[in-house]
C-alpha cells in the first residue's frame, strides 16, 4: 500500500540580502551561523525538504532563530521563497466546491503567480501565529474576523457565514453570545482560539501552528492544546506545529524535524527523536529539556 504525501517540499530556501555563491556553503550547523561569511546575507532556511501525510501532525523544533517560522511563512506564502519546490497532491476530493482557476496538483506552487498562491492558500490552508495581532483584526468583531476569511474563500451569503462563524466559535468553546465582541476584549487564550476558528473556517487541508501556546499561562496552554488534539481527531487535518517546547511536540506530533541555523539536522518519529536522538544538537536539546 503506497502512502502518498499531501505536501511535498524540496530544498526550500530563504535568503535575506543580496545573496552570493558562498551563502549556502558558509552557513549551517557546521559553521554555527546563518549569516554568509562573504556577503552578510541571512540564510534563514536552506535545503529544507520533507513530506507531510494526510492527517499527520509534523513538529518543528529548534532554538530561536533557527528558521522554524521562516519555513511556515514560506509554505503559507506570506513570504516568497528564494528558491525551492512545494507540491500539493491528492487534493481532488476538495476541488468540486472550490473555485480554483488552475489545477495545482503536481505543480510547483513556489513558482506560481501571487494570484494562484492566494487562491491556493484560501482554498487549502489555515495558519495560527504566536502573536494574535498577526492573525486577527483586534477591533473587528470575532464573527467579522471569521467572515472576512470566508469571503476570501468565496462565501457570499451573510446568514450562512454567520451560521458558520457561530458553529466554529462553539467548536472552539467560545460562547456564541460573544461573537460580536472584538478579540481586543478577550484573554490571550481566547484570542488564540478565535485565531484557530478563523484558520479552520475554510475547512483547510493543511494547518500551520507557530508557537501558538508560547506566552500563555500553563492552564490556558493546556486548553488550547487539548482543543488542537480534539480538532485533529475530528477533522483529519494535516498540521505543521512549530514549538521550542518538547512537551507540546510530544503531545501533538507523530513525527518531528529539528532545525538549527536554517537547516534540518534531524527528522524522525517523535519518540525516537526524544529517546534516541542522533545529531549532537538534538542530543543537547533533548537532554536540556528533561
Amino acid at each position: 500500500m503506497p502512502i502518498a504525501p499531501i505536501l511535498d517540499v524540496k530544498n526550500l530556501t530563504k535568503i535575506f540580502g543580496k545573496g552570493c555563491p558562498l551563502c549556502h556553503d558558509s552557513t549551517g550547523p557546521e559553521h554555527e551561523t546563518n549569516v554568509c561569511r562573504r556577503c552578510g546575507s541571512v540564510v534563514a532556511c536552506s535545503d529544507v525538504s520533507f513530506e507531510l501525510y494526510l492527517g499527520e501532525i509534523l513538529g518543528i523544533v529548534g532554538e530561536s532563530g533557527s528558521g522554524k517560522s521562516t519555513v511556515v511563512k514560506l509554505l503559507h506564502f506570506d513570504w516568497d521563497a528564494t528558491f525551492g519546490e512545494m507540491y500539493f497532491q491528492n487534493t481532488e476530493d476538495r476541488k468540486q466546491n472550490i473555485d480554483m482557476t488552475i489545477d495545482i496538483d503536481g505543480k510547483n506552487l513556489i513558482a506560481l503567480s501571487p494570484f494562484i498562491k492566494r487562491q491556493t492558500r484560501n482554498a487549502f490552508m489555515g495558519v495560527v501565529y504566536q502573536n494574535p495581532h498577526l492573525g486577527l483584526r483586534m477591533d473587528v468583531s470575532s464573527g467579522g474576523n471569521i467572515a472576512e476569511r470566508l469571503i476570501m474563500a468565496n462565501w457570499r451569503n451573510i446568514a450562512m457565514m454567520r451560521d458558520r462563524a457561530s458553529g466554529l466559535l462553539e467548536k472552539i468553546e467560545i460562547p456564541v453570545e460573544r461573537m460580536d465582541e472584538p478579540p481586543r476584549n478577550f484573554s490571550g487564550g481566547m484570542q488564540q482560539r478565535v485565531q484557530i476558528a478563523k484558520a479552520l473556517s475554510n475547512e483547510p487541508l493543511l494547518l500551520f501552528l507557530d508557537e501558538i501556546t508560547t506566552g500563555l499561562d500553563v492552564s490556558v496552554q493546556a486548553r488550547v492544546l487539548d482543543l488542537i488534539r480534539k480538532l485533529q481527531r475530528e477533522l483529519q487535518l494535516s498540521m505543521i506545529v512549530v514549538s521550542h517546547d518538547f512537551g507540546v511536540i510530544r503531545l501533538l506530533c507523530q513525527r518531528t524535524m529539528v532545525m538549527k541555523y536554517g537547516r534540518i539536522v534531524e527528522k524522525g518519529l517523535t519518540d525516537q527523536i526524544l529517546e534516541d536522538p542522533q545529531h549532537p544538537y538534538t542530543q543537547i536539546l533533548v537532554s536540556s529539556q528533561l
Binding site: 500500500m1 504525501p5 487539548d226 481527531r233 503531545l251 524522525g268 518519529l269 529517546e275 549532537p280 537532554s287
Partner: protein, 232 residues
C-alpha cells in the same frame, strides 16, 4: 512473522565526548504467527533495547528486523520509512512500556478508549463501554475511571497502560515488564488476558522479571547476552 537477524544497537552519545554505549549485540531470533517469545537476561543485557528497536523508538545500528506486515508485505523495521512505521504502529504492532506515558488531562477511561476511536472506527459510546469493561476486569475501581491516571498508583497506571495496548487487539504485542509493579492478583488477571489474546492469534514478545512466570506464559525463551553477569 518477525525475524531479528544480527540486530545490534550502539548508542553514540556525542555530548559525552562521543561516548559509545552498547545497547544490544548480534541478536537473532524469530517469532512465528501466534507464538509468544520471552526475552530473558540480566539487567542491562539489552532486552528493552531490542523491543524499542522493533517498535522503532530506537534506530538499530546493525542487522535487520524482518516483519511480515499486512499493510506493506515483508519489511525491514530497522530501515523502512517513518510513515510506514506509523502505519504499522497504528494497525499492527502494540507496545506496553514499563511505565505509563500519561497523556495529560485525559481520564483513564478515555486513555483506554482512544485507540479504538482512532483505529477501529468505533463510536465514542462503544469505545468507552469496552474500555470501562476492560478496566473493570483489571480491577480498576469504578471511581477512578473518570480520574486522570497521572494521580494513580504505579500498579494502577500499569494496568491502564496494559488496557490501552490490549484493547485494540494488535497482531504483534511487545511487552516490557508489564507485570513489574503489580500485586499477585493483578498479575494473574493480566496473565489471563494475555493468554486470551494469544488464543485469538496475537503474537507476542515479552520481558518479565519473574522467570517462573515467563516460563509458564511463553512458548520459548530467548536468552540475551547470557555471558554478562547480573549486576542488578
Amino acid at each position: 512473522m518477525l525475524k531479528a537477524d544480527n540486530l545490534s544497537k550502539v548508542f553514540n552519545i556525542h555530548i559525552l565526548g562521543d561516548k559509545v554505549i552498547e545497547g544490544c549485540e548480534n541478536i537473532s531470533f524469530h517469532v512465528s504467527k501466534g507464538e509468544f517469545l520471552g526475552l530473558a537476561g540480566p539487567s542491562g543485557a539489552g532486552k528493552s533495547t531490542i523491543l524499542k528497536c522493533i517498535y522503532r523508538t530506537y534506530l538499530a545500528t546493525g542487522g535487520d528486523i524482518w516483519y511480515d506486515s499486512i499493510l506493506y508485505g515483508q519489511v525491514n523495521l530497522a530501515t523502512i520509512a517513518d510513515p510506514m512505521v506509523i502505519g504499522i504502529r497504528h494497525k499492527e504492532i502494540g507496545y506496553v512500556s514499563q511505565f505509563l506515558k500519561v497523556i495529560p488531562r485525559v481520564s483513564a477511561i478515555d486513555v483506554v478508549a482512544e485507540p479504538l476511536l482512532t483505529r477501529n472506527g468505533a463510536s465514542a459510546n462503544e469505545a468507552r463501554k469496552k474500555a470501562g469493561e476492560l478496566l473493570e476486569r483489571l480491577n480498576i475501581p469504578a471511581r477512578l475511571l473518570d480520574a486522570y491516571p497521572a494521580t494513580f498508583s504505579g500498579g494502577e497506571q500499569q494496568r491502564v497502560n496494559i488496557a490501552r495496548a490490549v484493547i485494540w487487539k494488535p497482531r504483534l504485542l511487545l511487552l516490557d515488564e508489564p507485570t513489574a509493579s503489580l500485586d499477585r492478583e493483578s498479575v494473574s488477571i493480566v496473565v489471563e488476558l494475555l493468554r486470551e489474546m494469544k488464543e485469538q492469534g496475537t503474537s507476542m514478545i515479552g520481558i518479565f522479571h519473574d522467570n517462573e512466570l515467563m516460563e509458564s506464559i511463553t512458548d520459548r525463551v530467548y536468552r540475551v547476552n547470557p555471558e554478562i553477569s547480573d549486576v542488578g
